[in-house]
Symmetry: C2
Subunit: 178 residues, 2 copies
């Protein structure tokens, strides 16, 4: 039994598709540290959660990294979405970044079952574009991958290129082999 | 004896001007938590530092809050300065915010000498403008207060309206009266 520390039931369903063991959601409000490294933020969260809960746990962290903006908004993507908003991030990139305005969604899964923390990365590369599409959430409408924005894809298509899915798949491989 | 947990000797000198007790700098790399509240970040840092060091300690946290950008960059001002840069924050505000593009510098000092944490706020209001002036650092060239940017002021003039100084002054009053 693995415990996924998250407030998001949808993430738990996604995890179950990739992991070879049962997954249960745990609500625990771990501290998110400030860092420019998703790995550092997730690892600290997994360690704290393990110490509080006592069972093997994993957490995830993710963000949008815009190449021409020094990786902004990166680990603070949620905060920037809430304050600036996605439209303004697009206009900022439009004004400041040369075509093709490369960006990547990155995710890290961190697993702790004792002294050590194992981390697994996933990413998907794309480019920022003017908002298009009705689906998805967050930055999906401005992130284009192979010609369509994530908001123009079905959930199934989006999951097939999910940065979180890729990190979960790496975690699943590791679990299966240990 | 008060211990100021900071890597910045200049801040210690500033603190000595406001506080009625001797101040010594301590190097301790406390965890900065993610939060939209400077108070929460500073309070967590003061508590952790007190637990590690064992003597009465204080820390500070500060940021630039742009009204028309939902408070962005706020607690993540240093990260945004490193990734986007100050010029781009100005261009973002120029394009997205109506005149007079109000903003404030805010600082919080958090003091811990036992179970409780006391926090003290300071702020200075102004407006964002195109970069002017050679002095100061960080966002100083784009923050105008009563007709001049902070980068156009002498250190003495700047200190007289310092958000950190105001927070330190409130802390000093509290120390003198307890």
């Amino acid at each position: 039994m693995l415990r996924f520390v998250t407030g998001n039931e949808g993430k738990v369903r996604e995890a179950r598709e990739y992991l070879p063991e049962p997954v249960e959601r745990v609500d625990y409000d771990y501290t998110e540290v400030q860092s420019d490294s998703l790995t550092e933020i997730a690892a600290a969260g997994a360690r704290e959660s393990y110490e509080a809960i006592g069972d093997p746990v994993f957490v995830d962290d993710a963000g949008l990294f815009v190449e021409g903006l020094g990786g902004f908004p990166g680990p603070y993507s949620a905060y920037v979405e809430e304050t600036l908003g996605v439209e303004r991030v697009w206009r900022l990139a439009e004004g400041e970044c040369d075509e093709p305005r490369r960006a990547s969604f990155r995710a890290v899964v961190a697993f702790c079952a004792g002294a050590d923390v194992e981390t697994f990365d996933g990413s998907v590369r794309g480019r920022l574009v003017a908002p298009r599409g009705e689906g998805g959430f967050g930055y999906d409408p401005i992130f284009e991958h192979t010609g369509r924005t994530l908001a123009e894809m079905s959930t199934k298509e989006k999951n097939a290129i999910s940065h979180r899915g890729r990190a979960l798949a790496a975690f699943g491989d590791w679990l299966a082999e240990r």
